[in-house]
Amino acid sequence: MFERIRYMLRKEFIQVLRDPHMNLTLFLTPVMQLLIYGYAVSTDIRNVQMAVMDLDNSPASRELVSRFEGSGYFNLVEHVDSEDRCREMLDLGQAQMVLRMNSGFGATIAAGRTASLQALLDGTDSNAAGIILSYTSTIVGDFSADLLERRERRLLGTGGGIRGPAERVASVELRTRAWFNDNLESRNFFVPGTVVHLVTLSALVLTSMAIVREKEIGTMEQILVMPITPLEFILGKTLPFVIIGLADVALITSVGWFWFGVPLRGSVALLFVSALVYLLTPLGAGLVISVISRTQQQASMSVFFFYFPAFLLSGFVFPIDSMPLPVQYVTYVNPVRYALVIVRGIFLKGVGLETLWPQMLILAGMGVVSIAVASKRFRKTLT
């Protein structure tokens, strides 16, 4: 039996690797996708385009503007002096935020009253807008707190009150530290996820397309007349893609590490073992798809139709905690979700089986069920 499997493997490998275009697809496209995800995908908000309409031009307003410029998050692109230009900049997307201070701003503050200022935000990108608003509130809030301190010191310094001249203001100082990803580079979050994504895609696409191709071209009948059992056929068709999948894991991890500097703090061996366990599920799914599809076009569309939501609902980009509750329950049956927890845990947190065993167990279970169901359906079509 093993000899027959070996022959099938050899045939499959020769077929897959003979085509130079195929080699490109197998190895170049994952790397290219990795590069794209690594560089392009970023939810970091920096270089916010900002415009200022300062009708007051007092020391206070100028100081506030310079705080924005000095924050490192904002680029002051223009000083605006008309409503129309304000509107135009937002319409054209030339500014994401416009800060407006009316004349009398500085005088109101000096008089001890509350001065209002307006921030106009381009809400089309609501995520960025939310973050930009948070930056703006922080800068304004810090400036306000400083003004308040100065004000109180002035008041208290002139006598009266229980407190002495020294500043005695209640304040909480937040010291923030981000674990696992000190600079909050979203890349460190996405790259490990990309490993899972690309491996899954390869397993799904290659398996289903390879088998359906034979059906479509007509060589399936030729294989069936060979003295090969269904199990050997399945193994022969899926093993090459397991191997290619693991090779992809190695490739992408290396590129991620050497090129992007994404830390790999956990055990490499555990990474490969998890990849192997995880791969069972998409391979089984690929087999099922190959059974229900007559043409490669159908197979390709099916893969896309089922994988795309799985990918999006896995926590790769969109946090699961923010999803509506019913959807969160659905994600519990999504194998990609567990694979991501494992891979991110190994890469960024450096944890091992002692923390990740629940996910591994679930993945192993899913994999076994997937392959079992797939082979049963597959055998029915072969016999």
């Binding site: 697809t25 392009a40 970091d44 009150g161 397309m209 007559r294 569309m301 980009v317 969109f318 959807v327």
Partner: protein, 384 residues
Amino acid sequence: MKSLFNDIRIIRTRAVARKEFIHVVRDPFSLGMAIGMPIMMLVLFGYALTLDVDNVPLAVWDQSNTVHSRDFIAQFSGSRYFSLRKRAGSYAELVRAIDTREALVAVVVARDFGELIAARRPAPVQVIVDGSDANTATIAIGYAQAVSRGWSERVRLHDSRRIGAAEVNQPLDLRPRVWFNEELESKNFIIPGLISVIMMVIAGLLTSLTIAGEWERGTMEQLVSTPVKGTELIVGKLVPYFAVGMLDVLLTVLMSEFIFHVPLRGSVVLLFVSAAIFMIGMLGIGILISTQYHSQLLASQLAILVTFLPAFLLSGFMFSVVNMPAVVQWVSYLVPARYFVTVIRGIYLKGVGLEVLWLDVALLTAFSALVMALAIVKFKKKLA
């Protein structure tokens, strides 16, 4: 007009189109997918997916355990942005909570917090954030700062009133106003851009599969042996996919309007016209890919890489391009989907028309015309 329709070229094109339509209709599977795809995507992006962050799981370690510290922590647990999951009693417990993702944020209140606040001196509080998800982490930090600031201000206000000093006003009052998407609903932001992603899948993927499929099965040679010329063949083949694509656009627009209530403020006509232009360009790319690669597997992989991925990542559909590193922004200028997304968003959210969008529309038209011409030329060469 009459003589135009009787032109032999139109007749041949129509024949190919009819054949192609029959193919598409006879394959209910693919047709179902083509229609089901936009519905699935709309449901996902309109309902399930959001980058908004709420209910961040929180762990706290209150080492001070005084009135002040409990009040401070209550500010967090009472906020809609945080969901208090664990009260830890040790550092190890905090670490465990973050490692197992029970909490994404941990707040540590030091032992002397109560005394420092009572003495009106700055009291440090440590906030630890799981940085793996940088987006959520950044937002969560913002929330923590806002909550903390709110609490400090409350204490100060309380103090000033107690001393009887003249009410010390907050110097600054920030009034934010959000334009175009007032409630900062991410679906208003995402759904218009979704149309472009859907079109890429239909146009790019489906087309490349179809034509590469014909090469692979050998039926392309049969077609070539007929008197049908190259241009007629291409146009005829693309007509049904163009129809399916525009049907998808219609479906998406209708669903956005009636199910998701995404406001459409601009011109519907401009929307469909630019969609049609964009579609033609995408179909052209599909043909180009399939003239080079006669294997469906390769063609589809390449189509995804060249059309879908850039559209998904670099068009501004999901991820804000203007905030990306400069190099990446340069590359995004080459992605046609970027211009289309700008046009669509402009029409939907800003309600602007050609007077603002003319450049993007012009670039789209130029791109589509160029790609189509190139595709036809290469295809004819392959046939010869």
